[in-house]
Amino acid sequence: MSTGEIAIRIKNVGHQFGEAGEARHVRALTDTSLDVVRGELLCLIGPSGCGKSTLLNVIGGLLAPTGGTVEVAGKPVRGPMPGDIAYVFQESALFPWNTVDENIRLGMRFQGVPKSEHAGRAEKSLEAVGLAEFADHYPGQLSGGMRQRAALARALALQTGILLMDEPFGALDEQTRMILGEDLSVLLARTEKTIVFVTHSLGEAVFLADRVAVFSARPGTVKKLIRVDEPHPRNPAFVTSEKFTALRNELYDLLHDEIRAAVASEAPRRRRGANGGAP
C-alpha cells in the first residue's frame, strides 16, 4: 500500500491556539508531517490533548493551521472540501429535529447532490450500516451505537474519497464498539475510502488500521508509525492472534511514556488553574 498515491499530504503542520502570553495560549500541534495513502485506514493515537482532533480539523479545512500546509488530492486545503471529505464526530452530530433519513438527505443537500439521487443513496447507505428499518426514527429514539451508525451513513451517502472519524465510537461500550469496528472493516474492504480515524483504544487501532500514527505528548507530533499488515475485512479471530497482541503491546509501550509525560506536564497547569488561571 506504500506504493499507492498520496490522498492527504500533511507538511510541517503546527497549530497554536491564542497568542503567546495569553492565558488561553496552547501549542497544540508542532511540525507534523504525514502522508496518508489512498485507500488506507490511518489511526491517530496519542495522549489526551496532544492535538489529534486539531490535526483532523486542519485536514478537514475546519481550522486553518498556524504553520504548514495540507494538500488533499493535490490541492491545498483552504476550507471545508465537502466533495472530497466527510466527517464523523465523536458526539452525535445528527440534527435532532430530523429523522435519520432526513439527516442523510440534508447532508446531500448541503453537499449539492442532485435531488433525484437522494432517495437511492440514502437507502443504500442506511443498508450499509444496517439501519434501514430505522430511517424514520429521530436520533433521540436511537441508542448511542445506532446514532453513530446513522452518522456514518450520512457520511457514506456523501460518497467522498476521504472519511475523517474523530473517536466515532468513543462514547460507546466495549462490545458495541467491537461490532461497529468489525462492520467498518467490512465496509472498508468494499469501498476504496481513505480513512483517518482517531481513537484512544489500542485494540481498536490495531484491529482497524493499516497504519497507526502514535503521537507524542503536547505539543503533539508523530512519534512513530506502525504498520498492521492484515487484509480487510478483518476477522474477529485476528483479535486473539499473536500478531495482534504483539502489535498492541508495542503500541502500549510507545504510548505509556507519552501519557506519563502528558500527565506530568498537566500537573503544574492544573495547579495554576486552581488559582483562577485558564480553565
Binding site: P80, P82, F89, P96, F110, G140
Partner: protein
C-alpha cells in the same frame, strides 16, 4: 415481579370476598379506604384538567358569594351577572369598535415586535461580540419600567393608535430578543461545524440548523412578546383614553359599572387565550421530534 404482585392482591382480596366477620377487621376496612383514596389520587394525577377546572370553579364560587353577599355592588359584580351581561356589553355603543381597534393595535404591535425582535435576537445571539456589546443595553431597557416614559410615546406618536402600538412594541420586543438570544446560545456548536463540513452555505445553516433549533425558543418568545404587547397597548390606552378597550375600562370604572367592566375584561381575556392557544397549536406541530 408482576406475578408476585398479583398473587399478593389475591391473598388480601380473599377475606374481603369471603365475608368472614372475624377476618374483616377494622384494620382491613381502613386499608380498603386507603386503597380507594390511592385510586382516586392516581385518577386525578392522570387528569390534571379536572383539578384545573375544579380550581376555576372554586374561585368563581368564592367570587360569586363574596360579590353577592359581602361586597358593594358598586365595586364588584358576581360572575353570573358578568356572563349574563356579555351580550349587553357587546352592544354598548362604541364597544365593538373599541374591541376592533384594540385587536388591530395588538396585531400590528405584535407583528412589528416580531419583525424587529427576531432578526435582532438572531444577530445578537449569533455573534459573540454583538452579544457582549449590545446585550447589556437590551437587558437594561427590558428591566426599565417603561410606563415612566409613556408620556414621551404620546409626545412622539400622538394620542391615536400609533402611540399604543409603539408602546406595545416597546413591551413586546425585548422578551422576544432575550428569548431568541438565549435560544441561539444553547445550540450545540458541533451541529454548525458538521453542517459546515458538509458544505452548508450560511443561508443553509440558518434555514436547516439554526431555525429548527430556534423553534421552541421562538414560540416561547412569541408568547412572552404577545403578553408584552398586550400589556403595553392596554397601558397606553388607559393613560390616553380616546378609544379602544382601555378607554371603556376607564369609563366603566369611573361610572361604577363593574358588571360591564368585568364583561369587557372577560372578552379581553378570551382574546388573549385565543391568541395564546393559536401560538401553542402552531408550536405543537413543529415539535414532533421531542
Amino acid at each position: 415481579m408482576t406475578s408476585i404482585r398479583s398473587s399478593g392482591v389475591a391473598t388480601t382480596a380473599r377475606p374481603r370476598a369471603g365475608e368472614d366477620p372475624v377476618l374483616s377487621s377494622p384494620l382491613d376496612s381502613r386499608l380498603r379506604g386507603n386503597e380507594r383514596i390511592k385510586a382516586a389520587r392516581t385518577f386525578l394525577l392522570r387528569h390534571p384538567g379536572i383539578v384545573r377546572l375544579g380550581a376555576v370553579v372554586v374561585i368563581l364560587l368564592v367570587w360569586e358569594i363574596a360579590a353577592r353577599f359581602f361586597m358593594d355592588p358598586m365595586f364588584i359584580s358576581p360572575p353570573s351577572r358578568v356572563f349574563a351581561s356579555l351580550g349587553r356589553v357587546l352592544h354598548t355603543a362604541g364597544v365593538p369598535d373599541a374591541l376592533q381597534l384594540t385587536f388591530f393595535e395588538l396585531a400590528v404591535g405584535f407583528a412589528i415586535a416580531v419583525a424587529i425582535g427576531l432578526p435582532l435576537g438572531l444577530a445578537i445571539g449569533l455573534q459573540p461580540f454583538a452579544r457582549r456589546s449590545l446585550m447589556p443595553i437590551v437587558l437594561l431597557v427590558y428591566g426599565m419600567p417603561k410606563i415612566t416614559i409613556l408620556p414621551l410615546f404620546i409626545l412622539f406618536f400622538g394620542i391615536g393608535p400609533e402611540s399604543k402600538i409603539a408602546f406595545g412594541v416597546a413591551h413586546g420586543v425585548f422578551p422576544i430578543i432575550i428569548t431568541i438570544v438565549a435560544g441561539v446560545q444553547n445550540l450545540k456548536p458541533i451541529l454548525l461545524v458538521s453542517a459546515r463540513s458538509m458544505g452548508a452555505s450560511r443561508w443553509q445553516m440558518l434555514r436547516w440548523v439554526i431555525f429548527p433549533h430556534m423553534i421552541p425558543s421562538f414560540f416561547a418568545g412569541m408568547r412572552l412578546g404577545m403578553s408584552g404587547v398586550l400589556l403595553g397597548v392596554l397601558l397606553a390606552e388607559l393613560y390616553v383614553s380616546t378609544a379602544g378597550i382601555g378607554y371603556f375600562t376607564t369609563m366603566f370604572t369611573e361610572n361604577f359599572q363593574p358588571t360591564k367592566l368585568f364583561g369587557l375584561i372577560a372578552m379581553l381575556a378570551a382574546m388573549a387565550i385565543a391568541l395564546n392557544e393559536m401560538v401553542r397549536r402552531a408550536e405543537h406541530r413543529f415539535n414532533r421530534w421531542r
